[in-house]
């Protein structure tokens, strides 16, 4: 198929960006979206132009590095996938595809489609851990039975890949789904109880400090999340925060 691409080009964080049009031809429907971008970049390099910078790494939908906003949707039109797993069979010959970076005040553009998500790092550093040193002498892994239900729910929350689609798609640029997922994982496990109060307070405080917006329950994040992280995690985080504020 032949396509027209409208792509956000921006030299660096200081420069002003703009949409630029490109054409690609003979794109196979079996290609992944990023393989289509590879074709474009090969074309640009051969023409002596600068290729489009975009983040990507594992191309298996798990590292969370890829981050495009395609036709107005984080990770494009398919559901439950990251951009690297989006396939060209979702598009038709002659389509015009608009490709932008994830946009949020807390995700400044570094270049073209690459954004700076270090705000996520700082939130994790504020409390996204259990304080246990490596010793080899922690208690036996089976010492505390954990109900299958709780373990599975914790796993569902822990499956977040930190890509930022929830923020990019939210009209408030809220990071509540991302933070709620981490808070929930630990809130559901006995190991997470000891530091539960400080964890939720510190992570939420850091989230606010980074300039993410509030949650108004529109639920767009849950729809666009490539890993299907549920809104329940936001509710659980709010409950944890309420509990913490009473202690």
């Amino acid at each position: 198929m032949n396509l027209t691409l409208k792509i956000w080009r921006q030299k660096d964080s200081q420069s002003k960006g703009q949409m630029v049009d490109y054409k690609v031809t003979d794109i196979s429907e079996h290609m992944s979206f990023l393989e289509m971008m590879d074709v474009l970049n090969e074309q640009l390099v051969n023409a002596g132009e600068e290729p489009v910078a975009f983040d990507h790494d594992c191309r298996e939908g798990i590292c969370g590095m890829c981050s495009m906003y395609i036709n107005g949707e984080a990770h494009g039109p398919d559901r439950g996938v990251t951009t690297c797993q989006l396939h060209m069979r979702m598009f038709k010959d002659g389509d015009t595809i608009t490709i932008e970076p994830f946009r949020a005040a807390a995700f400044p553009v570094i270049k073209d489609l690459v954004v700076d998500r270090s705000s996520f790092e700082r939130i994790q550093q504020a409390g996204g851990y259990i304080s246990v040193n490596t010793s080899g002498n922690t208690q036996d892994a089976n010492a505390i039975p954990i109900s299958k239900h709780a373990a599975d729910e914790a796993m569902d929350a822990a499956t977040c890949i930190g890509c930022g689609a929830c923020v990019a798609t939210c009209k408030n640029s809220s990071a509540m789904l991302f933070v709620g997922a981490k808070v929930s994982q630990y809130a559901l496990l006995p190991q997470g109880q000891v530091e539960a109060v400080d964890r939720v307070k510190n992570m939420v405080a850091q989230m606010d400090l980074e300039g993410f917006g509030n949650c108004t329950n529109t639920g767009a994040c849950e729809v666009e999340c490539p890993k299907g992280i549920s809104l329940d995690n936001i509710a659980r985080m709010n409950r944890e925060l309420m509990k913490a504020s009473l202690k």
Binding site: S28, H30, E50, D57, D78, V132, L189, G192
Partner: protein, 670 residues
């Protein structure tokens, strides 16, 4: 220089304990004055960085991605082995040790493997304490599954995302130390050289990938945990950015590179669909617990399927060739990876491949779905369930076990694997070879350590499933933090290493000169053009089966591609900005050297062992006819190569492998 593995004396089961009791320690007050650089933040590097910081060292950690959480350990699916014997099925430290040495085709260092088996149980304890949500059974205890090459259930897992959960565990431990200021994290940075002062590793030169700035970083020791070199094949299951540059740079500065020809071609990957393909996707080996591998028995059916006249589900049981179950009745679909991969290649080379390229076999879940369905019907007390009901119940169980893998397959191939068998084909996955290290995990450069997939030591010529995660975390959490202290104990009075010295000047100049060359070279061809050519030579001539003629050709061809690369490569943009093409150019330049050494190593090793199959070395008769033939008399050694300029001139050093606690036997899975 003679190779000294520094394996401690004494009985194998006491070596590690005795050794830990005797090595030098650094007191907590002094650790504050010692800096350690860790390059790479996957399972090995991340766990090492966190643990070293917990101990009190000042750690500087480097990752080329925007967060340690993105390292490619995250893509590991199936699980992690540990000799817990929770299932009571006869597992033990010795048995895990034995399986790993046997699985590695007797080409690993016995003492290292025993230590790995010994600390494996601690890893699970540590991870649970960190909040890793491993799968549990209804009683609330940890669940296990089985992997290839073993007869017990010792693999712990978190759905099909075990690597992700373990990496996020190490990442959380790192975050705690970053918050305390004990780890200084350098995201979007790439190590481009190691700096040696008085023969010791004392720092690195790194490029800030956002600004292009070249930076000097000093430390008392440098730990390289940069992963494997599978991307030398261009197409592999590695991440796009996975590269060998850090490992190759230390090799060029004096670290020997061991057994590069031991590469794992993983049997269960999604087949290639076209020339535009940028990477291959693995389907976890855990699928072989429940999936049966087959091709049609008759050539007419193969053709009918390829032409779309028949579907695989149209073929009856006796029209199918379950070739693994036929050839290896004892292990069946759970033979080790190298054996399963070669068997798939054998069938496809014979013309039985089931897709348009002729490079695919089936992985079929129909029997498992039926078996689970019947079991569920019993459990739920459903009398005389219909076939549809059984299928429905069975699919639910399969979904619970492998749901994310099935979804991934469906997204890529656009076919429902619950209804239609999956198509799979082998692909480059893991590299057992790597930087040579002694028992302390130190390379032949004093003060330079290498851990995780980047080193060579524990998997011999073939790695068993669920052992990579185990090794990465063992090295980082439980081995390196001890052994590095023994070395650093001599550095408590050294003080901070200055970076305004001639050694740093020189290393920085080399790095800058190379970058300037790429930017100013007036070539016409993209980096990928050369990378793809290299990959094709590697796959065709240094792939699943190798012979003398092909390997000699490969060496010459790779050299020619390398020469053309330096003349004709085109890198757009400038050095002082984010420039992904420039990053790739440096990595591919190193792969073009490594690939030739790889072929040279494969040529030298005139035996078949593990992932290295020499067509000249097969069993000619008896029950094992056609299977790989190892030669212990002449090749029971580690090949450690010393850099001498051109890869073809590398000098071979041998570390003899002694097996005192395991009898060397032919590896039979029949």
């Amino acid at each position: 220089m003679a190779l000294d593995s520094r394996v401690p004396q004494g009985p194998i089961k006491d070596k590690w304990t005795d050794y830990k009791n005797k090595i030098n320690l650094v007191n907590p007050a002094n650790k504050r004055h010692i800096d350690v650089i860790v390059v790479g933040t996957g399972l090995a590097g991340g766990s090492a960085a966190a643990t070293l910081a917990e101990l009190g060292y000042n750690v500087k950690a480097f990752a080329y991605q925007d967060s340690p959480r993105r390292a490619h350990s995250i893509a590991a699916q199936g699980g992690i082995n540990a000799a817990k014997n929770y299932q009571g099925d006869g597992d033990s430290t010795y048995r895990l040790f034995y399986d790993t040495v046997k699985g590695g085709d007797y080409r690993s260092r016995e003492a290292n493997v025993y230590r790995l088996a010994e600390v494996s149980a601690n890893i699970i304890d540590q991870c649970v304490a960190q909040g890793v949500p491993f799968a549990r059974d209804y009683g609330g205890l940890l669940d296990n599954r089985s992997f290839g090459g073993v007869l017990v259930s010792r693999t712990f897992y978190a759905k099909g995302q075990t690597g992700q959960q373990l990496l996020l565990g190490a990442y959380s431990a790192m975050n705690r130390q970053i918050a305390r200021g004990k780890i200084e994290m350098f995201n979007r940075h790439e190590m481009l050289d190691v700096v040696k002062v008085d023969g010791k590793a004392r720092g690195i030169i790194a490029r800030n990938l956002v600004t292009g700035e070249i930076e000097r970083h000093s430390a008392h020791a440098v730990v390289v945990a940069s992963g494997g070199y599978g991307n030398v094949y261009f197409l592999s299951t590695n991440a796009m950015g996975s590269n060998a540059t850090a490992a190759w740079k230390i090799h060029k500065k004096g670290a020997y590179f061991a057994n590069p020809c031991y590469t794992q071609i993983h049997p269960t990957c999604i087949p290639r669909s076209g020339d535009y393909q940028s990477k291959l996707t693995l389907m976890s080996e855990s699928l072989r617990n429940d999936g049966r591998i087959w091709v049609p028995k008759n050539m007419e059916d193969v053709l009918a399927i390829r032409e779309g006249r028949k579907k695989p589900t149209d073929l009856s049981e006796d029209e199918r060739d379950y070739y693994l179950e036929r050839r290896y009745p004892a292990f069946g679909n759970l033979v080790p990876r190298d054996v399963a991969s070669r068997a798939a290649k054998e069938r496809c080379d014979a013309g039985y491949g089931v897709n348009a390229t002729g490079e695919a076999v089936y992985l079929d879940f129909a029997s498992a779905i039926e078996r689970y369905g019947k079991e569920q019907a019993k459990i739920q007390n459903i009398q005389n369930p219909s076939k549809e009901k059984i299928t429905e119940l069975g699919e639910k169980i399969v979904e619970a076990k492998y749901g994310n893998l099935f979804q991934m397959y469906e997204k890529i191939v656009d076919e429902n694997p619950y209804k239609m068998p999956m198509m799979i084909y082998p692909a480059t996955h893991y590299t057992m070879g790597g930087v040579w290290v002694d028992y302390n995990l130190m390379t032949t450069i004093p003060g330079c350590y290498c851990i995780g997939e980047a080193n060579f030591s524990d998997h011999g010529a073939n790695r068993l499933g669920a052992s990579a995660l185990m090794q990465g975390l063992a090295d980082g959490y439980f081995v390196l933090p001890y052994t590095i202290g023994d070395y650093l104990a001599n550095d408590i009075r050294t003080g901070k290493i200055p970076t305004d010295t001639p050694e740093f000047d020189e290393a920085e100049k080399e790095v800058k000169d190379r970058i300037d060359f790429f930017i100013n070279n007036n070539g016409t061809k993209s980096v990928d053009y050369f990378h793809k050519r290299l990959g094709k030579v590697m796959w065709d001539k240094v792939g699943m089966a190798r012979n003398e003629k092909g390997l000699k050709e490969a060496m010459a061809e790779i050299k020619a591609i390398r020469e053309a690369f330096w003349k004709e490569v085109k890198v757009p943009g400038s050095a002082n900005e984010m420039n992904p093409e420039l990053e790739k150019a440096g990595r591919v330049a190193d792969f073009l050297e490594l690939g030739e050494l790889f072929a040279k190593d494969a040529l030298m090793r005139e035996e078949s062992c593990g992932g290295h199959f020499r067509e000249e070395s097969v069993e000619l008769e008896g029950e094992q006819k056609g299977e790989a033939k190892r030669n212990d008399k002449d090749f029971a050694f580690v090949a450690a190569w010393e850099y001498k300029g051109e890869p073809a001139d590398a000098v071979l050093h041998k570390e003899a492998l002694e097996f005192k606690d395991i009898e060397l036997k032919q590896r039979s899975y029949k």
